[in-house]
Symmetry: C2
DNA sequence: ATAACATTTAGAGCTGGCTCTAAATATAAC
DNA sequence: GTTATATTTAGAGCCAGCTCTAAATGTTAT
């Protein structure tokens, strides 16, 4: 029910330094301290950390995450803002996943090219130029 | 067939500053200069930029990208290394996409919670705690 | 030929997100 | 009770990846 900063660090993979940094940046406003001034993380704090990891992992900067937390503290008058934030983040995430899919196709193609190249001892210049021409067309138009 | 740094900047969305920085970091070793010292980007350079964007977009640091370019310059003796690099990057990309999928589930759940909350004018504490307990269990075990 | 704009260089500065230090205090293990 | 380990603070340092500056030179339009 109460965890030391070291325990939380071990379990989350973040360092104690990073946890203190997050607190300083306003991302962990609910972490309590005991009578000697040591941080005691609660289950709720773990929940916030999981959310922080999620938002950070989808590209939201710490400032954006702090905004969400500030809205949470502000209370029910910010429910729509928070909903909108999650909707926006979902949209960004979808675009991100589409982009990664495109990158995956390029990388798959490169793997194909290099597997052929390894077999024959050199890159296929014609194939390489074909791919190049396609990209040039995409960027500079016809 | 030959593009100024400004043209390339406009088309790729990178700034001219960034393009010069990439060159300085060894990412654009094939960009030529004309008789007055101005950069002239070729289709091949555009191709490299597209590859750079792809690798950067999948989380590879510029140093890793430079390593690939150095191997390319080194020639056919590095074909296997380059193949392996792309295979490693594909693997990382797959993990990344899985992770994003998990983040998406969390965000979808939050959207659901906040849509309910907006309807009723406040968050469902019971629901919130349920999700919290699940995360705590996942991180700290039983 | 002149004005407006683009490009060059070396190098300084900036931002985000940590990461580490040092010296003091707290807790745990024996 | 003493050692070993953990935590505290304020503040400095670090790294990646840009981003900008200034002063000189090049290019384009009229």
């Amino acid at each position: 029910m109460g965890y030391s900063i070291g325990q939380v660090a071990k379990k989350t993979g973040l360092t104690a330094h990073t946890l203190r940094y997050y607190e300083k940046e306003g991302l962990l406003p609910f972490v309590k301290k005991n009578s000697s001034g040591l941080r005691v993380f609660s289950d709720t704090d773990i929940g916030w950390l999981v959310m922080i990891e999620c938002l950070k992992g989808t590209g939201m900067p710490l400032k954006g995450i702090k905004q969400y937390i500030d809205w949470f503290i502000e209370g029910d008058s910010t429910l729509e803002k928070r909903l909108q934030m999650f909707k926006d983040q979902k949209h960004k995430l979808q675009e991100q996943m589409l982009q990664l899919q495109k990158h995956m196709e390029k990388i798959d193609y490169k793997i194909h090219l290099y597997e052929e190249a390894v077999k024959r001892g050199g890159l296929d210049k014609a194939e390489t130029n074909k791919a190049l021409a396609k990209e040039k067309k995409r960027i500079f138009g016809e």
